[in-house]
């Protein structure tokens, strides 16, 4: 019975993707169009394009920059957000400026940061990713810290919780669902900035390779690059969901209890 329902679920989940892939395959099967090479050609070029040296020269460095920039943004955003969220004075002082900085589309930072650190080199890319990702995390942390239950804060004070345990167990934990929402927004910005920061000047990296293929009219390779970027986005969002699932397990429990599920 359970095997049956599982099978049915799998079938409904896979049906449409399979149909779409088949349509892609059939429509491009005998394609002589320059832009739309046959899917079989794309898949054949895939291993030779990505499983050679390119992993160590382009893919891994890009991923390392992505992770470094994103983690830095997490640390800075949460630290700054807690500080601003806890102090009404600081909040009032910074609110309009933060609204402005948040509203600047992050890719615009690339040329500005290039003024300081140039286009090539890892540093300018990491800075770009960090500055672009920090705003959603920061602002969501501020909102989350502000919304922490006052009764909990008063209780913590009555019990004379030490500052450290109050921060970890009451404030950060109470704000964590909101912080996670900010972190999820920031993750998609991080991927965008990872690609964009590599598009200027002569560069190495995942994004740079894809554009290089396009400029040299290596169309099947370009398609494999698009597929790699897509898979990267899907993989990162899956990893994020797994981490979030465990980190916020308590929150789901509380919410379901509230709803009387």
């Amino acid at each position: 019975m359970t095997v049956l329902t599982f099978g049915r679920r799998l079938l409904t989940a896979l049906a449409l993707p399979l149909v779409l892939l088949t349509i892609w395959w059939v429509l491009t099967a005998n394609s002589t169009s320059f832009f739309w090479p046959p899917l079989s050609t794309i898949l054949r070029t895939f291993p030779e394009t990505w499983f050679g040296d390119r992993i160590t020269t382009d893919v891994l460095p890009s991923l390392a920059r992505l992770c470094t920039g994103y983690l830095l943004a997490l640390v800075l955003g949460i630290a700054g957000g807690v500080a601003i969220g806890l102090s009404p004075l600081l909040r009032a002082l910074t609110e309009p400026s933060l609204e402005f900085f948040r509203a600047i589309p992050p890719p615009v930072l690339v040329p500005v940061i290039a003024l300081f650190a140039g286009y090539t080199g890892s540093l300018s890319k990491i800075i770009t990713i960090t500055i672009g990702c920090v705003w959603p995390i920061l602002l969501n942390t501020v909102e989350g810290v502000r919304a922490v239950d006052e009764v909990l804060l008063d209780t913590a004070r009555c019990y004379h919780l030490r500052w450290r345990s109050k921060l970890v167990h009451v404030i950060l934990r109470g704000a964590s669902p909101q912080i996670a929402a900010g972190a999820r927004q920031a993750l998609s910005i991080a991927v965008i900035l990872m690609v964009i920061s590599e598009l200027f000047g002569a560069n190495h990296g995942l994004g740079a390779s894809v554009v290089q293929f396009q400029r040299s009219f290596a169309i099947p390779q370009m398609w494999t690059g698009i597929i790699v970027l897509g898979l990267l986005g899907v993989a990162l969002s899956a990893i994020f969901r797994i981490v979030e699932h465990f980190a916020l397990a308590w929150y789901r429990g509380v919410r379901d209890a509230d709803r009387g599920v």
Binding site: A15, R102, A103, P111, G233
Partner: protein, 271 residues
């Protein structure tokens, strides 16, 4: 009374609105002053970060140039058109998929897979097909913004009260009347949230396309200014784009309040 007085001590300080505005202004002035002082004292190289006053002067100069207004118009037109198309696709698609359970089950995995694909992955493809014409920006904007709307509409349609839906069906409402009188009012708050998210995302992708692909607009102007060494103008344009972003956010929030003013949940909150 005494309890309230006690609460207003310590961290429960409630700032009065005018004080809040005053402090906000003070903070902004502080940052501008910092941007003025740092380059002037030589703490930061002027070639990289010009003083705030010269950025302002450059911004003033830009406002008198026809090219600037043309570029700004192109950016805003591209943004509005892309956002409009994404709203249309997202709302129609969302209501359609959300109202038919079979469609919802069949498309769930595909939507989950396609949504996280970064729209910048499509840049090489649109460059090949459209070059630096506005269509390139349009495709990126629509791809990125439609997901925001579609997902919100799907959540909204799922949120419809089953009793209300069954009641409407018992009264033999036509499909269209059910959508109009039962589904749409329930989904509206979600639609508006989707609109707010999509408005911000559309602007990001529009400017990105201009900057990276060279589609005409403010993004391209920033790229040109930076590569020709016009540092003040680069910063002035970035400030303009930021201000457009602020305006977009404020406008989206105003739309949200206006549209939902007569929504039952908002009325209940106010009562």
């Amino acid at each position: 009374m005494t309890v309230q007085a006690g609460l207003s001590e310590g961290r429960h300080i409630r700032l009065l609105p005018f004080r809040q505005v005053g402090l906000g202004l003070l903070g902004s002035v502080g940052i501008i002053a910092l941007l003025e002082v740092l380059p002037r004292t030589g703490a930061v190289d002027r070639r990289y970060l010009p003083p705030a006053s010269s950025m302002a002067a450059s911004l003033g100069g830009l406002l008198g140039e026809a090219d600037f207004w043309t570029a700004a118009g192109q950016t805003i037109r591209g943004w509005a058109f892309g956002l409009g198309l994404a709203m249309l696709l997202g709302v129609v698609g969302g209501v359609l998929i959300g109202s038919v359970p079979l469609l919802r089950v069949l498309t769930a995995s595909t939507i989950e897979f396609l949504r996280p694909i970064p729209s910048v992955a499509l840049i090489p493809l649109v460059v090949l097909i459209f070059g630096s014409r506005p269509q390139s920006a349009l495709i990126l904007v629509v791809y990125a913004a439609t997901w925001q709307v579609l997902l919100q509409v799907l959540y909204g349609v799922l949120d419809v009260d089953p009793v209300a839906r069954d009641t409407a069906r018992s009264f033999r409402f036509s499909r269209w009347s059910i959508v109009r009188t039962v589904v749409w009012p329930t989904a509206l708050p979600y639609v508006v949230t989707g609109f707010r998210l999509a408005a911000a995302v559309s602007l990001i992708l529009e400017v990105t396309a201009e900057l990276v692909i060279g589609v005409p607009g403010l993004g391209r102007s920033i790229g040109v200014a930076q590569s020709s060494g016009a540092v003040e103008e680069t910063y002035a344009l970035v400030i303009v784009v930021g201000l457009i972003g602020v305006a977009v956010n404020l406008a989206a929030r105003a739309v949200e309040r206006r549209v939902l003013r007569w929504h039952p949940s908002v009325r209940r909150e106010e009562a």
